[in-house]
Amino acid sequence: MTDPLVIAGTTFSSRLIAGTARFPNQQVMLDALAASGAELVTASIRRISLEGYSGSLIDLLGDKYRILPNTAGCVTARDAILTAELAREALDTNWVKLELIGDRELLYPDVEQLVHAADELVRKGFVVLPYCNEDPVSCQKLADVGCAAVMPLGSLIGSGMGIANPAAIELICARSPVPVVLDAGIGTASDAAQAMELGCDAVMIDTAIAKSHDPVRMAAAMRAAVEGGRLARLAGRIPKQRFAEPSSPQLGLVGS
């Protein structure tokens, strides 16, 4: 495998992590995930309806994809930790995407609670991938307590606004001792490519695929964008300059 993504000692050939929410139906979800090339997909942990249990979507995914459970919606460290423990039991995985929200409207992380919960979960043997602010200090704190990666937001979850602060993402990527996964706010393929060009190791995409007009095609677009952006990053781009520099030779011009 050339240029694999490595998180907590596990190797992936795809640098696209896909979400499973908000698809118009199950079949579209399955087809889009296949088109995306994702190997790691996220799921939430929720109470069952108590009128009997009729089986879940995850039954379809369980053997083809590695599932990364999230603690979406949790606002306290205690709830997030319990959710992670329930997820470990339900899915037989010690990986968790840790989400701790400080504002229900913005879905911005609560950094204080997040670092505390990450610390405790790492001590309990979890592989923690935290959804976090696009701020180098928070990312460093999370790495310091032992997170396996950091997942800074590009912009608000589900907003499709792309990468609001590319300079911050670039700084985080340059300094992070752990892999950086751009998570939240990607809107279209160019955003995913940009994330990779800024130095991200992977991207996490849900809404941009699931809610596009043609999720299967958008999933394929995202796959290509992540691969293209990564190749561009490895190829080493030209610097930006404020003046023109002609590309054709200057000598031998007709009429000169």
Binding site: G19, T20, A21, R22, F23, M29, T42, A43, S44, I45, R46, R47, I48, L50, E51, G52, Y53, G55, S56, L57, I58, D59, G62, I67, P69, N70, A72, R78, L82, T83, E85, L86, A87, R88, E89, A90, L91, I157, G158, M204, D206, T207
Partner: protein, 68 residues
């Protein structure tokens, strides 16, 4: 009959163990990807038939669902 909280709802149950609670709710205990916690602690599947419930207990029964 005993009063406890299951998935956020106060409820009266005849069940004395987690296995009995699941049966009472029509949930096959062999269902994959289920997890249960009582009073904030996960109870492993192997213990469901033995884990006894008490009045006032807070039970969470969860499974994975779509999520981002």
């Amino acid at each position: 009959m005993m009063r406890l909280r299951v998935n956020g709802e106060e409820t009266e149950l005849a069940a004395a163990t987690i296995a009995e609670l699941l049966a009472e709710r029509g949930i096959d205990p062999k269902t994959r990807f289920l997890a249960v916690a009582v009073n904030g602690s996960v109870v492993r599947r192997a213990e469901w038939p033995m884990a006894s419930l008490a009045a006032g207990d807070n039970v969470e029964i969860v499974r994975p669902l779509q999520g981002g």
